[in-house]
């Protein structure tokens, strides 16, 4: 086993040790703790890049790498797997981690204790959930990331945060019991929890067992739909994300994607084994749930008065779009959904950070005034004829305004940024697959998805524009927000990445297409995990 192979476990170990070290330090040494956090997150970024680059090699033996914990073979021990799906997710987590860690260095990390250790443990849980090849281990990493997220959601305290966190914790604890029920049903029928081994055993199950197994996978699927905040299981999300402090909400932007990732992963393994028929979820259901989530989120966006909730509903839009896209199926749709995942995660994170910066100068009275003005249609304040030249917008507001505009374009999927490319890819695949391809005409589902994508885009434009006008163009006198360089830097970093994603859309999309194709096959994953030699075989020979 080479050094590069040992790197696979690094995304879990680095934040674990960094977080542990922080806890040992005196809480008042903020600089030292923050420095450890930055070093660890940068190390994660480097490791993620190395893992991604190796997974892009042509040699199929290198693209999918398996790490046997304790060198026990897959049938006995727990495996970690890096492939073309886990690699980009790790990189996305590390990138988001960097931006979300840069931002609070200005002030937010002083709002409560243990911000940095919890942040590291959240990263550890996320990385573990992306890497693991074992269902129960997946549950454990989910609990790690959830436990850290409870602490982070409460960061800064206050009545709104505690109340929203209370709901969040109850819902996730209930969802965790669902995961356990699903996992134990799967173990009871198939006799293994290793995802690759499951893929092999499904066709061998007899019908009575198979029925129980299907119930198990469905319960598991429901639990992960709660995590992905799909309608009607996602009402907790907008309140929580609006209440959470900005850097935390930005990092949370990837948490719904973990649920999506697991659904995709399990779907891939179980689909192939049962001969092309998705058994984790009847395809129609996933599609319907996705569409319902998008509609709910679009209505929610239009109705939300504050920008935090607006951003929260944007998370729901992206969640719904991805679920509907994979619900429709096909390599093209999956690859477009993955591209959309990367783009929308970065965008929503940037939007959460930006919202906090824009809202910083506002007092609650401003909001009341703005709403009252809108509701009662109070006449515009008379601007003196002589001063008609206009009011100078302060430089900092102009910078924020440009960033806000970029976010609006990205969220709504308007050209020229990556949000447009992602939605364009979805729609073009939709038309190509069902129209130009074999089917003759676009199916009803295809039309519905196309229509809902466009409508939700329109709703985003309306809602974000309204919020932007209220923040940047109102005449109310307000104090200018004091903004530190690192905070703007974090937003700029995320937006720059979106621009980079726009410029490099071709290579990224090709990469995602290969990923989606690999997921469709499923077999390479199962084969690579099962064929990895480990200690287990000797054990097996000893026992008759």
């Amino acid at each position: 086993m080479t050094f590069a192979d040992q790197l696979i476990i690094a995304p879990i170990l680095i934040p674990l040790f960094a977080g542990g070290l922080m806890l040992l330090l005196d809480g008042r040494r903020r600089e030292a703790i923050a420095a450890i956090g930055i070093l660890s997150t940068l190390a994660l970024l480097a490791v993620a890049i190395v893992l991604l680059v190796t997974s892009m090699e042509e040699d199929p033996a290198r693209t999918l790498r398996v790490y046997l914990l304790g060198n026990w073979s897959a049938s006995f021990g727990i495996v970690l797997v890096v492939d073309r799906l886990a690699g980009p997710m790790l990189l996305l987590t590390a990138t988001l981690g960097c931006a979300a860690l840069l931002f609070p260095l200005a002030s937010w990390h002083r709002a409560g204790s243990y911000f940095h250790p919890l942040f590291q443990f959240l990263l550890m849980g996320l990385n573990g959930a992306f890497l693991t090849g074992d269902l129960f281990n997946l549950f454990v990493f989910f609990e790690v990331l959830l436990a850290a997220s409870y602490g982070l959601a409460l960061h800064g305290s206050g009545r709104a945060r505690v109340s929203a966190s209370l709901h969040y914790i109850v819902i996730n604890l209930a969802a965790s019991t669902l995961i356990l029920i699903g996992v134990s049903l799967i173990y009871g029928t198939a006799g293994t929890l290793n995802m690759a081994a499951l893929g092999e055993r499904i066709p061998l199950l007899d019908p009575s067992q198979r029925r129980l197994f299907d119930i198990g996978t469905s319960i598991l699927g429901i639990a992960f739909l709660v995590k992905a905040a799909a309608w009607p299981l996602g009402f907790w999300l907008p309140t929580l994300y609006a209440a959470a402090s900005a850097p935390v909400a930005a990092l949370f932007a990837i948490m719904t994607k973990v649920g999506f990732y697991v659904i995709l992963r399990l779907g891939s393994i179980t689909t192939e084994a049962s001969g092309g028929e998705t058994m984790l979820f009847a395809e129609g259901w996933l599609f319907t749930i996705g569409i319902a989530t998008m509609c709910f989120a679009a209505i929610g966006m239009l109705s939300s008065q504050d920008m935090g909730r607006l951003a929260g509903y944007n998370v729901l839009v992206s969640s719904g779009t991805m679920l509907a896209a994979i619900g429709l199926g096909g390599t093209g749709m999956t690859s477009a959904a993955l591209f959309y995942l990367v783009s929308s995660t970065l965008t929503v994170a940037a939007f959460f950070l930006l919202v906090e910066l824009v809202e910083r100068g506002r007092t609650p009275a401003d909001d009341v005034l703005a709403v009252t003005l809108e509701a009662y249609g109070a006449e515009e304040e008379e601007v003196d004829e002589e001063n008609e030249v206009g009011i100078a917008i302060p430089a900092i507001m102009a910078v924020l305004g440009v960033a806000f505009l970029a976010c609006a374009l990205l969220l709504a999927g308007l050209p020229p940024l990556s949000g447009f490319i992602a939605k364009f890819a979805l729609i073009s695949n939709l038309l190509e697959q069902h129209w130009l391809g074999g089917g003759g005409i676009v199916s009803v589902q295809g039309w519905i998805l196309l229509f809902v994508i466009l409508i939700s885009g329109l709703a985003t434009v309306v809602a974000v524009t309204r919020a932007g006008m209220r923040s940047f163009w109102t005449f109310t006198e307000r104090e200018l927000p004091t903004i530190r360089g690192v905070e703007l830097g974090a937003v700029a970093l995320l937006l720059f990445l979106c621009v980079a994603l726009t410029v490099q859309a071709g290579p990224v999309m090709r990469f995602m297409q290969v990923t989606a194709h690999g997921l469709e096959l499923g077999r390479p994953y199962i084969g690579a995990v099962q064929s990895q030699p480990g200690n287990g075989l000797r054990q097996k020979e000893r026992t008759p």
Binding site: I169, L180, S184, Y187
Partner: protein
């Protein structure tokens, strides 16, 4: 034995879900605890119920599942117990914080009459 275990799981889960849907935070936490007990028993049950079969290997007995209880679900239960215990403790803290900040033990932090 199967019947007793299934009825126990059913009663625990049923009461847990009922309490989970109640409006007071204390009822919710008790509901979550009952639900996690039910789930722990359920995981244990999925390893098949056996009387007098240890989950520990013995060199004089063939090492197949015919002679032993399946140790894996028992290991899973241990993990699940630890995790649900820790989460209950954490939830208790948040519950008290919510009670302290809002002066109400309603899950929405607001009494309906207000």
């Amino acid at each position: 034995m199967e019947l007793v275990i299934s009825i126990t799981i059913g009663v625990l889960a049923g009461s847990g879900i009922w309490l989970l849907l109640r409006p007071r935070t204390f009822q919710v936490i008790i509901g979550l605890s009952l639900l996690s007990y039910a789930v722990n028993l359920f995981i244990f049950g999925m390893g098949r119920l056996r009387v007098g079969a240890p989950p520990v290997l013995d060199s004089s007995v063939p090492g197949t599942l015919a002679h032993y209880a399946d140790p894996l679900p028992q290991a899973l239960v241990l993990t699940a117990i630890v995790i649900s215990f820790a989460m209950t403790a954490l939830f208790l803290v948040v519950l008290l914080a919510a009670r302290g900040l809002s002066g109400s033990d309603h899950v929405d932090s607001v009494e309906r009459s207000q």
